[in-house]
C-alpha cells in the first residue's frame, strides 16, 4: 500500500479565505492510502517546504499531493523540495485550488467541496505516478549555419568567437548574400561593402569557421545536440585548395556574354568567373551551362593559363557528412518576381526596375560604375518615381499579405541619395503608409522629405505606361490632394515585396522545423523564444523568420548565436522525462504514431520476439527517442493498440483523475 502525503496551502488568505483548508486536509486525510494530511499558511515558503520534506522522511511517503496555487507557479519548487527529501521529484502532484478554485468562487462551501475533489483527483493521479529520471544525451560541440548572408555571417562569427567550431553552408559560390549587393545602408548611409566585407574576411580567417561555399544541405538526421548532416559540395570545376583567386582565367575566358547574376543580369561576366571582387572564398567557378569545354570539350583555355593548375573539368559533386550539436537556419529572403504586375510595365520597359536593381545601378561596382543611368538609353533620368508596397500588404491572390518592412526605409535612402548626387532630378514616392519604426528611422525619412525635397505622394499607382518618346507615363492618385496625377518619368523603381528563399521549405522539411503559410520559419514562441524553432536544436537567424532590416537581422543573428552557444556550452542535455514510450510487446508497427509526431522522434526497428509458444517472431516496432520527444502525446491517441503512452500523463493517470472528479 502506497503512502501519500497531502499538504494544503492557505496561501495566506488567498486560498484560506474561500476554502476551508482544515476541512480539505481533514477530508483528504480520510482517503485510502493517505498517510498524512495537513495544512500550512505558505507551503512554498522555506518552512513550508521543510514541513513537506520532514513528512516525506518521517512517513516514508511514496507520493506527495500539494493543494496550492497553479502547478505553473510552484510545481518545480515542490519537486525540488521532494528531491531534497529523497523522493523522486515526479512523485509530486499539485491540486490547483487557488487559480482554479478559491479565486473563482465566492461560496466557501462550494469552493471547499471542489477543493476536496481536486485533491482527490491529484491523489488518484499520484498513486499511479512512476519515478522518472530525465534522460541525458551528449552534445556535439559544433554548429552548422545554413546561409552565408549577413545573418549567417554574424551568427557564425559570434559562435566562433565563443570558441566553438562552426560550418557555414552557402549555396552560392561566395558568402555575403543580399547585403553584398547593396550600395549604402540606412539610416547611416555607410556603404554596405565597407561594413560587410571585413566580416566576410573575418569568417575566412577565423580558425573556428569553415566556409562550405557552393554547397547545399542534402539530408539531416538526429536530434538536438546530435545532428548528422549530409552536405553536397557542388562541383565548381576549380580546385578550391589550389585557386589563388588571381582572376587571370576570368579575364581570358572567351565566353563573354553570360548574364551577371551579381548585377542582376544588367551586365555580363565570363563562363569562368568570380562573383565579385571581395568574394569569399575568392575562388573562381566555371559555369557548366556556358563553358565550351564542359559543353562540347572544345577550349580548355583557362586550364592552360592557370598557373597553379586549379582548373579541373572532371570535378564531381561530393557529399560531406558532419556531426553538429546545433543547426542555424539563415536562409534569408528573395525579392518577389514583379513580372506579374502588368500595371507597372516591368516587362514592357527596361526603365522600370526593382529597388535591388537600383542598388546595383548606383553602386560603384555595378554595371554603370555607380553613375545612375537609364537601362534603356544610358541617359541620366531626370524624373524618378518610386512605387511602394509592390506585392506587399496585398490580398493573397495579388501577392503577400504581410508588410515587407524594409522598403519604406531603403526607398527613403534611394530618394535621398539620388537628390544628393543629382539635385536636378525630381523624385516622387508613391506610398500607402510610410513605416519608420526603428532608431533614427523617422528622422531619416523626414530628412528625405523635408531637406532633400523628395515628393512623397500618399496613394497608389494605377498604371505605368511606356510612351513613344521613351518616357513613362505614371498614372496615380494623390489621396491627400484627392486628385489623379500623371507623371512623366524617366525611371520607375518598384519596391518589390520580399519572400523567404525558395530553398527554405525543403530545408524546413529536412529539419522537421515548422513554417508559417508564407514559408517563414515559425519561432518556438513569438515573443519569448523568437530565435528558436519549436524543434529543439534548430535556431533561426535573419529574414528566414520574417522580414528584417540589417540592424534587426544582426541583432537577431547575435541573439541566435547566444542561444546556440548556450546549448553548445553544455556537455550533456537533460531532457524532459515526461515523454512518450512504446510497449514493444503491444506495438503493431503501423506507423500511425510517427505520422503525427511533429519532431520525428519515432523510428522503427525490426525486433525478434520470443513468443509464448517458444517460437520467435520478428516484428516492426516503434522506438521513441526521449531526447527528441517533447511530450505532446499526439502519438498516444494515434496508437490503436495503446502501446504508446506518455510518462507523467499516462492513460491510466488521466482516467484516474476523470474517475475521481466524476465520482
Amino acid at each position: 500500500m502506497q503512502k501519500i502525503g497531502v499538504f494544503v496551502c492557505h496561501c495566506g488568505t488567498n486560498i484560506a479565505a474561500t476554502v476551508d483548508v482544515k476541512a480539505v486536509a481533514e477530508a483528504l486525510g480520510r482517503e485510502p492510502s493517505v498517510a498524512v494530511s495537513t495544512d500550512y499558511p505558505y507551503m512554498c515558503s522555506e518552512s513550508g517546504q521543510n514541513l513537506i520534506k520532514d513528512a516525506i522522511r518521517e512517513h516514508a511517503l511514496d507520493g506527495v499531493v500539494i493543494c496550492s496555487c497553479s502547478p505553473r507557479m510552484h510545481e518545480n519548487t515542490f519537486r525540488k523540495a521532494a528531491a531534497q527529501a529523497g523522493l523522486n521529484p515526479y512523485m509530486v502532484e499539485i491540486a490547483n485550488i487557488r487559480e482554479q478554485c478559491s479565486w473563482i468562487h465566492k461560496d466557501k462551501e462550494e469552493a471547499t467541496e471542489k477543493a476536496i475533489i481536486l485533491g482527490r483527483a491529484a491523489i488518484a493521479k499520484v498513486l499511479l505516478n512512476a519515478p522518472l529520471t530525465a534522460g541525458e544525451s551528449p552534445v556535439t560541440k559544433r554548429a552548422l549555419v545554413i546561409g552565408g548572408g549577413i545573418a549567417g555571417i554574424q551568427t557564425a562569427l559570434d559562435i566562433a568567437e565563443a570558441g566553438f567550431p562552426v560550418d557555414i553552408v552557402e549555396k552560392e559560390p561566395t558568402i555575403g548574400g543580399k547585403m553584398a549587393q547593396l550600395d549604402k545602408t540606412f539610416p547611416t548611409l555607410d556603404c554596405a561593402a565597407c561594413i560587410l566585407t571585413p566580416k566576410m574576411v573575418d569568417c575566412a580567417q577565423n580558425e573556428n569557421i569553415r566556409i562550405l561555399s557552393f554547397s547545399e544541405v542534402e539530408a539531416v538526421s538526429g536530434f538536438v545536440g546530435n545532428f548528422t548532416v549530409k552536405i553536397r559540395r557542388k562541383a565548381r570545376y576549380v580546385d578550391e585548395t589550389k585557386c589563388t583567386g588571381c582572376g587571370l582565367c576570368t579575364e581570358k575566358c572567351p565566353v563573354k556574354k553570360v548574364p551577371n547574376e551579381f548585377n542582376l543580369g544588367m551586365d555580363q561576366r565570363r563562363a569562368v568567373y568570380i562573383p565579385f571582387a571581395q568574394a569569399v572564398p575568392k575562388v573562381a567557378r566555371i559555369d557548366p551551362d556556358w563553358c565550351n569545354m564542359l559543353k562540347n570539350g572544345k577550349c580548355g583555355l583557362c586550364s592552360k593559363i592557370c598557373t597553379v593548375g586549379a582548373i579541373d573539368y572532371k570535378q564531381q559533386d561530393t557529399i560531406l557528412e558532419e556531426q553538429y550539436g546545433a543547426i542555424v537556419a539563415a536562409t534569408g529572403y528573395e525579392p518577389i518576381k514583379v513580372d506579374r504586375y502588368d500595371e507597372y510595365a516591368y516587362t514592357q520597359s527596361k526603365d522600370v526596375i526593382t529597388s535591388l536593381e537600383f542598388e546595383r545601378l548606383t553602386n560603384a561596382a555595378g554595371p554603370t560604375s555607380g553613375t545612375l543611368l537609364r537601362p534603356s538609353d544610358g541617359r541620366h533620368p531626370h524624373t524618378i518615381v518610386f512605387i511602394q508596397c509592390v506585392g506587399s500588404r496585398c490580398t493573397p491572390e495579388k501577392g503577400k499579405t504581410y508588410c515587407s518592412k524594409i522598403c519604406c526605409m531603403y526607398t527613403a535612402k534611394h530618394a535621398m541619395l539620388t537628390r544628393e548626387k543629382y539635385p536636378d532630378t525630381d523624385v516622387y514616392v508613391f506610398y500607402i503608409d510610410v513605416r519608420t519604426p526603428g532608431k533614427n528611422f523617422d528622422e531619416f525619412y523626414r530628412r528625405a522629405a523635408e531637406e532633400y525635397g523628395v515628393h512623397y505622394i500618399k496613394g497608389a499607382v494605377g498604371k505605368v505606361a511606356p510612351r513613344a518618346d521613351g518616357t513613362l507615363d505614371v498614372q496615380g492618385s494623390d489621396l491627400l490632394m484627392n486628385e489623379q496625377l500623371h507623371i512623366r518619368a524617366d525611371l520607375v523603381v518598384l519596391a518589390a515585396a520580399i519572400e523567404p528563399s525558395k530553398t527554405a521549405r525543403p530545408l524546413a522539411t529536412m529539419l522537421t522545423a515548422s513554417m508559417d503559410t508564407n514559408d517563414f520559419f515559425t519561432e518556438a514562441h513569438p515573443k519569448l523564444r523568437p530565435v528558436e524553432s519549436p524543434t529543439a536544436g534548430i535556431f533561426l537567424s535573419g529574414a528566414c523568420q520574417g522580414p528584417k532590416d540589417i540592424p534587426e537581422t544582426v541583432s537577431q543573428a547575435s541573439a541566435c548565436a547566444a542561444k546556440v552557444i548556450g546549448l553548445l556550452a553544455k556537455d550533456k542535455l537533460t531532457g524532459n522525462p515526461c515523454v512518450a514510450h512504446s510497449d514493444e510487446w503491444m506495438c503493431n508497427g503501423c506507423s500511425n504514431c510517427a505520422s503525427v509526431c511533429p519532431y520525428g522522434a519515432i523510428t522503427y526497428e525490426d525486433r525478434d520476439f520470443r513468443m509464448p509458444d517458444r517460437t520467435t517472431k520478428t516484428r516492426r516496432v516503434a522506438i521513441v527517442n526521449p531526447a527528441v520527444c517533447q511530450g505532446c502525446g499526439a502519438c498516444t491517441v494515434a496508437c490503436p493498440s495503446g502501446a504508446m503512452d506518455l510518462y507523467g500523463f499516462s492513460n491510466s493517470q488521466i482516467m484516474a483523475e476523470v474517475d475521481a472528479i466524476c465520482k
Binding site: T517, S591, M655
Partner: protein
C-alpha cells in the same frame, strides 16, 4: 472461375512460384465454406472451392501467413479483400514479398441468412443456375434469384477494382458510386436524436461481445487489443452494462476510422445481425465530407485522415451546426 483458379494455383505450386495457396474449402451444406491453406495439387482438386458463398475476406490471414519463412503464399483477392490487403501493407502488417496476389473479379457474394430469411430452411445444397440459386432442402427444392440474396455489403459495393495484385484473373472492374453505400447512414442521420438513440440501443443491446466483429476485421490487427488489455483501463470480457456496449463499438469504430476499407466482414459475422458497418461507414462518410474523399487501402502511401490535417479543417462545432438535432 473456380476451375481457372484451381488450374492457376496448381501451376504456381508446380513451378515453385508459391509454396502454399489460401482459398476456401467446401463445407457440409455448400454455403458453409471455410478459408483454408492448400499445399498440394491433390488437396486443391479435392477440397478447393470458389462460389457465391466464398465471401470471407482472407487478407487478414496473410498477416500470419506472410510472416512464415516457408516460401510465398498465393492468395486470391476479391476487390474488397485487395483494399484490405493494401491497407495492411500501408501499416506494415504484411510482408508483400511473401505473398503472390491474384485479383479475382466479384459479382457480389450471397448471404445465406437472406436465403433463410426468405423462409427457406433445411438447406442441404445450393447450385447456381443462371440468374438463380437452386436450393435443395430437407423440405424440397426452392429457387431464388441470386440478386435477391446478395449480401448487404455487396449491394453497397464500393469498387470492383483491385488496388493491388500480381496478376488478374478475368476482367478488371471499376469504382462504383458511393450514394448507395451511404444511404443507410444518411437515413439514420435524417432521424431525430431520440430515434437514433433508440435504434442503436435496440441493435447494440443484442451484442454478446463474442468479438467476432473485431477478430475478423482486417483493420483490427492489434497485437493486444485495448479491450483485452487490463492496463488499458477499458478492458471488458462482456458488456456488464449498456454503456459498455456503446463503449466497445464506439472505440472499435474509432480505432479503425480512416483505416476501415468497408469490407463489411463485421456485419457478415455478427451472430446477432447488428449492422456494424453503419458505424464504420458513418466515419467514412464524415471523413469524405469534411476532409475530402478518402479510401483506405487505395494505395499504400496515403496518409490516414486521422494522422493528417489541414489548417482550414472544420471545427468540432460543425457537428452541432449541421443537419437537424
Amino acid at each position: 472461375m473456380q476451375e481457372m483458379m484451381k488450374k492457376r494455383a496448381k501451376t504456381l505450386l508446380a513451378d515453385g512460384t508459391v509454396s502454399r495457396v489460401i482459398g476456401w474449402r467446401r463445407g457440409e451444406f455448400s454455403y458453409d465454406v471455410t478459408p483454408a491453406v492448400f499445399e498440394t495439387a491433390e488437396e486443391i482438386d479435392r477440397d478447393f472451392v470458389f462460389d457465391a458463398f466464398c465471401g470471407a475476406n482472407v487478407s487478414k490471414y496473410l498477416i500470419r501467413e506472410s510472416a512464415k519463412e516457408d516460401g510465398r503464399i498465393l492468395a486470391f483477392l476479391k476487390p474488397c479483400d485487395a483494399f484490405s490487403f493494401n491497407q495492411l501493407l500501408a501499416e506494415h502488417r504484411v510482408r508483400r514479398e511473401n505473398v503472390y496476389l491474384i485479383g479475382i473479379p466479384c459479382a457480389g457474394k450471397a448471404d445465406i441468412d437472406r436465403i433463410k430469411k426468405a423462409g427457406i430452411d433445411g438447406v442441404t445444397g445450393i447450385a447456381e443456375d443462371g440468374e438463380d440459386f437452386v436450393v435443395s432442402t430437407v423440405y424440397g427444392d426452392e429457387r431464388v434469384k441470386q440478386a435477391d440474396v446478395l449480401a448487404e455489403r455487396c449491394l453497397a459495393c464500393k469498387s470492383k477494382r483491385h488496388p493491388v495484385y500480381d496478376e488478374l484473373l478475368g476482367e478488371e472492374g471499376e469504382d462504383l458510386p458511393d450514394d448507395v453505400r451511404f444511404a443507410g447512414v444518411a437515413k439514420l442521420e435524417a432521424m431525430t436524436a431520440e430515434e437514433r438513440f433508440d435504434f442503436w440501443r435496440s441493435e447494440l443491446s443484442k451484442c454478446i461481445r463474442c468479438n467476432a466483429c473485431r477478430n475478423v476485421c482486417p483493420a483490427c490487427t492489434c497485437e493486444n487489443c485495448v479491450f483485452d488489455n487490463p492496463a488499458s483501463g477499458i478492458s471488458q470480457k462482456a458488456a456488464a452494462d449498456p454503456f459498455e456496449e456503446n463503449m466497445y463499438h464506439i472505440i472499435r469504430a474509432f480505432h479503425v476510422a480512416g483505416r476501415c476499407t468497408d469490407c463489411g466482414e463485421c456485419s457478415r459475422v455478427c451472430p446477432e445481425h447488428i449492422p456494424l458497418h453503419l458505424l464504420n461507414r458513418k466515419f467514412i462518410k464524415d471523413i469524405d465530407e469534411l476532409y475530402g474523399t478518402y479510401r483506405a487501402g487505395e494505395d499504400d502511401g496515403t496518409k490516414n485522415p486521422l494522422t493528417s490535417y489541414t489548417e482550414g479543417d472544420a471545427e468540432a462545432s460543425v457537428v452541432r451546426e449541421r443537419g437537424r438535432a
